[in-house]
Structures are given as structure tokens and as C-alpha cells.
Symmetry: C2
Subunit: 214 residues, 2 copies
């Protein structure tokens, strides 16, 4: 098969990953809307939409062996197909975590999950996660190491927010234990979403440089 055909397959592979990163961003925005605006429809859309991310991951995994075996890529091309597997897995997981957030909103609907005192910190996590999703898509498109490092800063912001949230919950939270557990799990889900986005960026850095560091 010609180099052209190989490039076409790589383009298709990276194209699917780009779509997945966009969908993972749509999912976390929808989940945050469901959570912060007590929007049942938004939550149901996130839950229903997750199947598409699962299918796209399977599509990526189905492409890899053929690409490897038919084209026997080396160096950068080889790293690209191997990284694509890990990236697809991380993006699918990001969708799952958005679903976890949406399901907490659904479980409590029509009651809101985020009491007023927790709104700033949860909103901050939601905004940072949405930014991280956008940057993940950018990193996949540019494969720029600096763009990848940018992601780490937003991830630190999410981790710090999770710390603030937990200390708020344990210093006399007046909304009860169930509310505190919901919020602790929500913080955890945003944190894991950001961690998986950082993994995507890490794979891109590995792809470009051949070494894992961020």
C-alpha cells in the first residue's frame, strides 16, 4: 500500500480522535449545565451521547492492527498508532466521568445538587474542565508541546479546587452528609476528567518527543 494510503489512514485515525475530544468536551459542558442549572434534559443528553464515544474508541482500536500490520510504521508513525490507543481510551473515560456527573444531577432532580456556598468552587471546576477539554482538542490538532503543558496548569487548578471543596465540606457543612458525599464525588469526577485529559496531552508529548514528560 502506498505512503499516500498510509497517510490517509493516519488522517482518519487522528480525525476520529479529534471528534472524540470534541464529544468529550460537549459531554463535560452538558454535565456541568445539568449540575449547575438543574437541567434534566442536558443530563439525559450526556448519558445518551456517551455511546458514541464508546463506539469511536472501538473504531480506533479496530483500525490499529490493520495500520500496524499493513504499513509496519516506524518511529513517529509507530508512536502515533500506539498513542492513538491510549488517547482514545482516555477520551472515552472522560465521557464516562461526564456521565457520572450527569447521573448525580439526574438522581437528585429536581433538587439542585450544589448548594450556594459550593457554587463558586464547583463552577470553577466546571469551567476549568471545559477549558481543559478545549485545550485537549487543540493539543491533538497542533501536537504542540507548549499547548500540552498548558493543560497541566488547568489540571492543577482542578486539583486545588477539589482540595478547597473537601475542606469546605469537612468544616461544618450545613447541608447534610448526603450533600457532602455528592459534592465530594463530583469533585472527584472533575478531577479524574482533568487527569485523563492530561494523559491525552502526555501521549501527544510522547508522540512528538519520544519521551513522557509534562
Amino acid at each position: 500500500m502506498s505512503r499516500d494510503n498510509f497517510d490517509q489512514q493516519l488522517d482518519r485515525l487522528t480525525g476520529v480522535l479529534a471528534v472524540m475530544s470534541r464529544d468529550a468536551g460537549v459531554a463535560i459542558r452538558g454535565a456541568s449545565t445539568a449540575l449547575l442549572e438543574v437541567d434534566r434534559g442536558a443530563a439525559e443528553l450526556v448519558v445518551a451521547g456517551d455511546a458514541v464515544l464508546d463506539l469511536r474508541r472501538a473504531e480506533v482500536e479496530a483500525m490499529i492492527p490493520e495500520v500496524l500490520i499493513r504499513h509496519q510504521p516506524v518511529a513517529y508513525d509507530l508512536r502515533l498508532v500506539v498513542c492513538a490507543l491510549r488517547i482514545a481510551s482516555a477520551l472515552e473515560r472522560m465521557g464516562d466521568l461526564a456521565v457520572h456527573i450527569a447521573k448525580i444531577a439526574l438522581m437528585r432532580h429536581p433538587v439542585g445538587v450544589v448548594p450556594e456556598p459550593a457554587l463558586p468552587v464547583i463552577t470553577g471546576m466546571a469551567d476549568a474542565a471545559a477549558r481543559i477539554a478545549d485545550k485537549t482538542a487543540i493539543v491533538l490538532a497542533t501536537r504542540d508541546r507548549l499547548d500540552a503543558m498548558q493543560l497541566g496548569l488547568d489540571d492543577d487548578e482542578v486539583d486545588a479546587a477539589q482540595e478547597r471543596l473537601l475542606s469546605m465540606l469537612v468544616s461544618g457543612w450545613p447541608y447534610g452528609v448526603e450533600s457532602a458525599i455528592d459534592l465530594a464525588l463530583l469533585g472527584r469526577y472533575y478531577e479524574r476528567y482533568a487527569d485523563n485529559a492530561v494523559n491525552v496531552a502526555r501521549q501527544v508529548v510522547f508522540l512528538v518527543t519520544g519521551t513522557i514528560r509534562l
Copy 2:
């Protein structure tokens, strides 16, 4: 390269996965000991030992392209190398979750994390997780579909225990919000550990049958 050499590489691959599943089992047992016996040394061993699982996963990932490219496996052999990537990833994640459990024990040490009323349910989760780890190793060795399905039953047990734990925490938990959050997260970590073990079993079923179902 001869078929013999290919088989040797597959044996090495499955050998590394077997060792990883054993290490993931050691990790969750150590984490449960740290948690239930307030054993700081056990917790530190789990945290320190996790790097080995990370390295073995990298070892598996490094082997895959060579195996695919040099031997161009088809059908079962091809599925084996593709599944190996997902299995290694799930086993590494199981180690990470054991570390999360150990770190909660370390964070509260020398204070115990599990008050007496929660001991039965957490002990039940710990025992089920340890059984699941053993069965994961067995499934990897036998590649028996019935063994794989067995795992699903223990996973259901962990999910049910998590439900019991959460309803206990929200119905007048007298040990405070921090304790409730610790326990909710612990339940979540055991649940995710079991989920990842089920993923390993699912990959083995896919490997044997060519279809994902458990």
C-alpha cells in the same frame, strides 16, 4: 521469525500480565490491611510497590508493536496482542486504586478510617475485591469464559455493598462528614477496582470468543 519465537513472545506477554494481576491482588490486600488494621507499613508498601505495575504496563506496551509488526498475527493471535494492551491498562489502574485506598489510610493514620458500624460492609468489599483479584489471575491463566463470568458476581457484590455503605452514611452517620466522605470514596475505589477487574475478564472473553459479553 519462526512461529516458535512468536509463541515465546506471546508467552512473555501473557507472563507479564500474570505477574501484573498478582501484583494488583497484592496491592488491594495490602491496602485493605492498611485500612482495616490501621497498618501504616502496609499502606507504605502499597504506595511504593505501585511503580512496578506502571513499569510492567510500559513493558507490555513496548512489546506490542514489535509483535504486531514482526509477526503480523491474525485472528486469535492478533486479538491477544490487542487485548494485552487493554488488560495491562486495567491492571495498572487496579494498582492505582489500591494506592488511593492506602493513601486514605495514611492520611488519617494513626486514627482508623473505618468506624465499627462500617466494618462489616467495608470488610465485605475488601474480601470481594481480594477474591476478584484472585479470579482475575485465574481468568488470565485459564482464559475460561465461565471463570470470567464468575468475576461478574463478585463485582455485583461490591456494587451492592457500595449501595449499602452509601445509604448507611446518609441515614444519620454519627462520625461526621469527613468520615462519611472518606468512606464514600473508599467504596468508590473498591467499586472501580472491581470494575477494572471485570474489564480484564471481558477482554479475555473477547479474546476467546471474538465478542464482548460477560
